[in-house]
Amino acid sequence: MVPLSYYLVLSAILFACGVTGFLIKRNIISIFMSIELMLNGVNLSFVAFAAQWHNLSGQVFVFFVMVVAAAEAAVGLAIIIAVFRTRETLNIDQVNLLKL
């Protein structure tokens, strides 16, 4: 039996990688992937706790997250394509129309 802490440490590492990628990557696709990484890091901790406490709520929650993430991916990719069509770049630093 792998101890709970191993899962949690892995989950934290995945989440940190996601955050770091989110912050330092300029490409929108990479950022998008970093978000998925963060979500799955969290999912891992949910599943780990569910297995530890023999409670299915955590696993059900993970399914919900995955559904939402899939929907988000569909919408997000559509937005990315729209952005690329209008601005011909995927560099996030140049997508700054909201700047005052």
Binding site: R26, I92, D93, V95, L100
Partner: protein, 682 residues
């Protein structure tokens, strides 16, 4: 049920005139403005005469008519109430009568001035407040009139507001009066605190049973002294007299009406009205008498060395007001009011005649540049001579009777008052006849046929721009002297009031001080020599029986004061008519004294150094720079600047850069997590 006299109409008539002229007057022709002003003030006078005719049929005195409740707070209430008794009747007739005459005179005097309607609007406004003052039935209502006449006085002194000196003279009068009003207000608060009412009748009924404060000063003395402070401001007594001479910046009819005949006597009226309080505070009475004597004396000495015709009259007014306060101070309130009345006649006349002289010589006010005018303006000369004889105390004229009565009562109180009074009478006679000789006798010393520019009002026509256009409207009676210069007699619209006032100055005294005193007795009490009657509660009113030997004394006193008057006349003749070089040599010989007197003892300068400059300094440094600019403005501007600085910093967070937003979110999330960890492990 006593007859309803509708006293409220009296003040409202001139108020209506003021409102009509003030609001619509700039669209009226001069004739219409004059008609409105004269109609309303004349009707007020007629109403006052009618009231006087009904006076004897009144069953209860004072006759109080309450119009409405003004304010109410628990048991304390103040009404719009008018009261009429002998004292206010005398004041009523003086104010409306002399006021009406001066309105008539002003039509002629002000005809060519700009702001004609404004002048009459203010003049009517003054009448409104003055009538409120004399008819008020409680202290607070009286105070409304009191402040109102101060306002009208301010507006009229500063009538030629384009002249800096007039504007600052107006401010000076207003501010000096504020000092007096401060005392008056405190007195009112004390009255409310101790008697719970402002009503004259109630307050005096509560005061009467109290013992007189002969030993030690209590709250009655405090009230009396504070009332006297108010009276000092309004009636130009030491130490607050300095505004009155400056008030001569106003048009001459204003000097006659407000600063000689009526408003400045309000203080005397108020003291006489409060005589019950004063009689219970002998030490306050003594202060009143001493202030009156000193003022009479010092103002007279200053009057001797003045060269401006109106300034002489101004100091003379201060001096005569001193007499009135002397009378009040020795308990002879009715004598004070008697002198008030005769003074209104002859001093009003003096000012109007001086205005006529100024008018005749084209705005010149310096007596040294006049002279020999009696042939050119005989009517002005005759009437002014009568007034001069009256004020000097030449027997047979009104001033003689009233001044003599005051001196006699002063003598009964203390010989010191009497001595100062007689010496003042001598100086009065001297400076008044000096004025007469300088102005009317000898040869003309000014530039003959000076252009009729009303120098006094130079640069004044510009601000309204009506002068030129309305000159065609001038009636024939007035147009004769203008346009071709030269010294000319005033039109009859100005001479008429002079003649009427001259007749009053002659006849006014023949009422007789004793008859006048008996008439006023219910309103002012009949205290004899106050020194013997320091406890007025002991003896109900009955005229003191004067022993025969005192009658002899009285004749002797009369003789001495007449001699003083004649001596003054003779000395003035000697110095200013017979030997014209002598005054300069005397001035040289008494150089220090003369300089001090000619500079009015440097009182203005002293006040400037002692009070005005420190006040301006403190105000500038502490209140303006310190409190206002640093603290108040600093707080406000600092708050605004701080908000702007902070916003400027925070603004940079909103960069539009997605990754910086993400960074902020991450930092925020990290903070939340750190907090939760910290809370969880604690």
């Amino acid at each position: 049920m006593t007859e309803n006299l509708h006293l409220w109409i009296l003040p409202l008539l001139p108020l209506a005139g003021a409102a009509i002229n003030g609001l619509l007057g700039n669209r009226f022709s001069r004739n219409l403005v004059a008609t409105v002003a004269l109609t309303f003030s004349g009707t007020a006078f007629a109403w006052a005469l009618w009231v006087a005719s009904r006076f004897t049929s009144l069953e209860t005195l004072p006759h109080v008519e309450t119009v409405a409740t003004w304010l109410r707070s628990g048991d304390f209430h103040v009404d719009y109430a008018f009261s009429l008794d002998q004292l206010s009747l005398v004041m009523l007739l003086v104010v409306t009568g002399v006021g009406f005459l001066i309105h008539i005179y002003s039509v002629g005097y002000m005809w060519e001035e700009g702001g004609f309607y404004r002048f009459f609007s203010y003049l009517n406004l003054f009448m409104f407040f003055m009538l409120t003052l004399v008819l008020a039935s409680n202290y607070l209502f009286l105070f409304v009139g009191w402040e109102g006449v101060g306002l009208a006085s301010y507006l009229l002194i500063g009538f030629y507001f384009t002249r800096d000196s007039a504007a600052s003279a107006g401010k000076k009068a207003f501010i000096v009066n504020r000092i007096g009003d401060f005392g008056f207000l405190i007195a009112l608060f004390l009255i409310i605190q101790h008697f719970g009412s402002m009503d004259f009748g109630k307050v005096f009924d509560l005061v009467k049973p109290l013992p007189a404060e002969t030993s030690g000063a209590g709250f009655l003395t405090a009230i009396a002294l504070l009332l006297m402070v108010g009276a000092c401001g309004k009636s130009a007594q030491i130490p607050l007299y300095v505004w009155l001479p400056d008030a001569m910046e106003g048009p001459t009819p204003v000097s006659a009406l407000i600063h000689a005949a009526t408003m400045v006597t309000a203080g005397v009226y108020m003291v006489a009205r409060s005589h019950v309080i004063f009689e219970h505070a002998p030490s306050a009475m003594m202060v009143v008498a001493i202030i009156g004597t000193l003022t009479a004396f010092f103002a007279a000495t200053i009057g001797i060395a003045q060269t401006d015709i109106k300034k002489v009259l101004a100091y003379s007014t201060v001096s005569q007001l001193g007499y009135m306060f002397l009378a009040c101070g020795v308990g002879a309130f009715s004598a004070g009011i008697f002198h008030l009345m005769t003074h209104a006649f002859f001093k009003g006349l003096l000012f109007l005649a001086a205005g006529s002289v100024i008018h005749a010589v084209g705005g010149e006010q310096d007596m040294r540049k006049m002279g020999g005018l009696w042939k050119k303006i005989p009517w002005t000369w005759i009437t002014m001579l009568i007034a001069t004889c009256a004020i000097a105390g030449i027997p047979g004229l009104s001033g003689f009777f009233s001044k003599d009565e005051i001196l006699w009562r002063a003598y009964q109180a203390s010989w010191a008052y009497w001595l100062a009074g007689v010496f003042t009478a001598f100086m009065t006679s001297f400076y008044m006849f000096r004025l007469m000789f300088l102005t009317f006798a000898g040869d003309h010393r000014g530039a003959a046929g000076a252009s009729h520019g009303h120098e006094e009002h130079a640069g004044h026509g510009t601000h309204l721009g009506r002068d030129e256009s309305s000159r065609e409207e001038a009636p024939a009676s007035h147009g004769h002297g203008h346009g071709h210069g030269g010294i000319h007699e005033s039109p009859w619209v100005m001479l008429g009031p002079l003649v009427v006032l001259a007749l009053l100055s002659i006849a006014g005294g023949w009422i007789g001080a004793n008859r006048f005193e008996r008439f006023l007795a219910p309103a002012t009490g009949t205290v004899g020599a106050s020194s013997e009657q320091s406890a007025p509660t002991t003896e109900p009113a009955s005229l003191p029986q004067v022993p025969a030997e005192e009658h002899g004394n009285e004749h002797l006193m009369t003789g001495i004061s007449v001699a003083a008057a004649l001596l003054g006349l003779g000395l003035a003749y000697l110095l200013y008519s017979a030997k014209p070089g002598l005054p300069d040599r005397i001035a040289d010989a008494l150089h220090a004294l003369y300089t001090a007197v000619a500079n009015k003892y440097w009182v203005d300068e002293m006040y400037a150094t002692l009070f005005v400059k420190p006040l301006i300094g403190i105000s500038t440094l502490v209140f303006w720079r310190g409190v206002d600019q640093t603290i108040i403005d600093g707080t406000l501007n600092g708050g605004a600047a701080g908000a702007r600085e902070l916003s400027d910093e925070v603004r940079h967070m909103e960069s539009g850069n997605l990754r910086s937003y993400a960074g902020w979110i991450a930092i925020g999330a990290a903070c939340v997590v750190a907090y939760m960890v910290w809370v969880g492990t604690k």
